[in-house]
Subunit: 303 residues, 4 copies
């Protein structure tokens, strides 16, 4: 039985993502859920053997990359990504049973969540004041335990903690979504599906043009980069590692060639995996079978 | 008298940066400090005419870019950066006068700050539990008002709120620093000093290689890119704007040419300014006087 | 009165080109024609002050570049190109008056010309054998002086030497054309017409990628290269200079920028001129006025 | 017994090159020599099955590329290059036995050769006038048959035609050399030696930047281009094919990848062969074994 770590406590969006991955068959049914104190802790559980996988958020359409996830993937012992799930961001405004909207004076919220429902709250709960919670799920616990009248939490938490839902699907910005990934120990990537994403972390020589040269290894092979993100190396301001996502799979010849070229060119290339994507964007890498056969004919002298 | 907005309440690192900018002559002496509820609010105060400048954090060596600052600069009405200051991250652990370390059971901290002093606290205040505060300065106020025994705050806040300092210069990671910038309404950039930084935000056509082509406009002119950052456009996952910083000034011919080329090539180029940098890294743009004179001789037919 | 040097003796295609240039107003009417022993000698006459201009062939659609012209332009004292003319290649088969086709046993021809009319001769003069002449015009002289029965020459030579024309417009390959240029001492280029060509000779550092980098200075600015030609430096096998022609004029901002960049990048850039082209191919350089104004607004702080 | 075609008649530099190739073991000893009327005819003999190989000049340090060789390789049925030989250019001034320098009034010379010994002749045979010969070997025949007093020819021709040598090793420019290649029907290239050259002919889409993109396929893989040559397509002025030579062999991974990429990118790629070079210049292609193994480990999940 697989053990899958996630940012707890129970009721977080991470747990909701984990359950949905299981529901869709990305994870074996009936896996053990292992809650951890933070996203890096979930990834550390895999490294330490306390879990087989971790389900962690990596990117949000409003906030951008989830830095603790990226930093753990880049700077700690290698892990690999095997799958992904994209969830709409949609908060539930939860209360203890019997609480009416007019009764809400304090509303517990993780600060990031508070920022994302601020407009909704000012319209629908104009009398309410935010009080900080340490996570979206903790906001529900704060409500259950009477430390706040309402909470900005998740549908899953409402269910788990026996709370009422004053409003569901709440979020100020349209189209807010979060991408979660399933990370495990390094291993063979899942088979190529034709709608795949490959991700690497590059450490570059500190010379002008090093990043352009690295990116050219993709563009010259007509591989579509779908994301580039810099993260400080945490040693000094102005030095970075780069996260690059591209369309395609390690089994695509062009992607394999680009990775080999980067391995030769960069100080370090960390392969984060190739996996089926939920949100295919960009052009597929070119098909190279014909060119490969042409080359083989040249080598055989058969034209 | 200049009015300068910052993330309040009084005692934040932002205010400390503002005071230091004033001390170093980056701001006129005796400016009015305007505290605001958030970093975007500080920038909005400039847009609304309620302040002449805003002093806001833009990048942190541990956390990376400060997303609300970048998003405000990229997506709201144009502002321009006129100067910068780099501050070491160093928290003060503050208490009400008379509190001993052994008395500390609860310690108020903004969650980001809590993460950065966690190791120190576990060693020096092993019995303490974190309680969330809404900002570093608010942590000091929470202590003053008796809502926590200690707080993770700033030296400035300790002074302003009459608190004792249990320990100063506290931070788990070595070399943690934050870059603050001074933003104002668009205007002529400050004169070229020879140690300048220029910053732009690019919106690119959604075609493979568009980013590589844009970056090549810098590399082909031997302009050193010191930073590249992507931010989601907030409309859907997988679409980004790019923040690029380079060595040099709008008055450097190469930089001017690169910007003109980007203006022609990109969907949109937003110029964020050219200003003297505190942390010069990378090679200066090439000197082009000789080539310019050569061209003028060609045009005159004088060889 | 302008003195214009050309490859003699009288009756060559070079003289025909010169007359046509004069006819079209590319040269002042009534110029003095100075015949020389070779194409390099015509260019040398300009360098020595014995002529104001030289009209010389530079490129042929069948043979390619005319090496002696290129080498003289690249390696001797600088000259500059001011105009061009494209002539169809069309030989006249000339005889002494009274000679019938059946009487032709020997046919004088410059070897290059012989190669270009071989098929025609084998069909129409099957009994004839080629005898070498030292130029197209000399072939006519050889016929006049009785050293051959017929000659492969020019319409102009037939007229000048009082010969009959057995057939005109003779050439085996369709569309054969030669480009002639008018070269003079360096001076201001003729005004931009919107259908111009600019030409340079590059000497590059002997490093991998130097040529690609140089060509990228054009492509990144969307300047269309219409021709690239390598010529050995005549010092050892495997070292070259490069002739590059592009669409546009020194007064086009993009072209001026590209040239400045090459001047900074290359061991040497020799500017061969900007002049109106007879055969406009390729896309015009981008218009940059709008970007220039945008940049000026940035510098003034006026947005 | 191999039959090897060359530009005749007997005594040409081409035959001298053929004999030297045989001497060095590039050709089987005792091959049959097949003389032809021209360099294209020698190549055609291979295409027609009348010869197994052709030994033809391809490049000269003074004249540059040998256009008829390039055009035949580019535009007629495919052939492949299997080896090369570089010969110093050195003419022999030949006379009938008993002729003294003072007796020389006429000197037979192929026009190209005349140009290369002009200075020498003006100093040593000031009274002599050039008369055109149809080849270097024909110049010797002209002397033997009494049509000229002396000839500009080869050491081999002097020997074959029983002539005296007034002077040997004559040439005006120092370091003049010619590269000859051995061309045969397409077949497996000779084994990689570590000092190899690979050659291709490219036909490109007529779009700006197409050549830069093609060349970038080499530079991005750190493959050293040692030669680039354009040749008109013979259909109209301003359209070209490109001959590119690079360091390395079809069995070098980087070269194979670059060729595959060109095959996918270009209208047509004609492979002219990989063969041991006599004049190694430029850096070897990077060794890729380590990167290949790294990639295989990624695919196996073995890190």
């Amino acid at each position: 039985m697989s053990r899958v770590a996630y940012l707890g406590p129970r009721g977080t969006f991470s747990q909701a993502a984990l359950l949905e991955m299981s529901h869709r068959g990305l994870l074996p049914a009936g896996c053990d859920e292992v809650d951890t104190a933070s996203t890096p802790a979930a990834l550390k559980a895999v490294r330490d053997g306390a879990a087989d996988y971790a389900c962690v958020p990596i990117e949000n359409s409003i906030e951008g990359s989830v830095s603790p996830t990226l930093d753990s993937l880049a700077f700690e012992n290698p892990l690999q990504i095997y799958g992904e799930l994209v969830l709409d961001v949609a908060f539930s405004i939860v209360t203890r049973p019997g609480t009416a909207a007019d009764d809400v004076i304090t509303i517990a919220a993780f600060p990031v969540a508070a920022a994302q429902v601020q407009r909704w709250v000012s319209v629908h709960l104009p009398a309410a004041t935010f009080v900080p919670a340490i996570s979206n799920a903790a906001a529900a616990v704060d409500v259950r335990d009477g430390r706040a009248d309402a909470g900005v939490s998740t549908a899953l938490a409402a269910e788990l903690y026996g709370l009422d839902t004053l409003a569901g699907g709440v979020v100020d910005e349209a189209n807010a979504r979060t991408r979660f990934v399933l990370a495990g120990p390094p291993g063979p990537p899942p088979p190529r599906t034709g709608a795949d994403r490959t991700s690497v972390v590059l450490r570059l020589d500190n010379v002008p043009g090093a990043l352009v040269s690295a990116m050219t290894e993709f563009s010259i092979r007509r591989i579509d980069l779908t994301r580039i993100e810099s993260r400080p190396t945490r040693t000094e301001l102005g030095t970075y590692v780069f996260f690059l996502d591209c369309v395609g799979h390690l089994e695509d010849d062009s992607v394999a060639e680009a990775l080999k070229a980067l391995h030769a060119r960069c100080t370090d290339v960390r392969y984060l995996g190739s996996w089926p994507t939920e949100t295919p964007v960009g052009a597929l890498p070119p098909v190279t079978e014909e060119a490969t056969q042409w080359l083989q004919r040249l080598r055989r002298g058969d034209r």
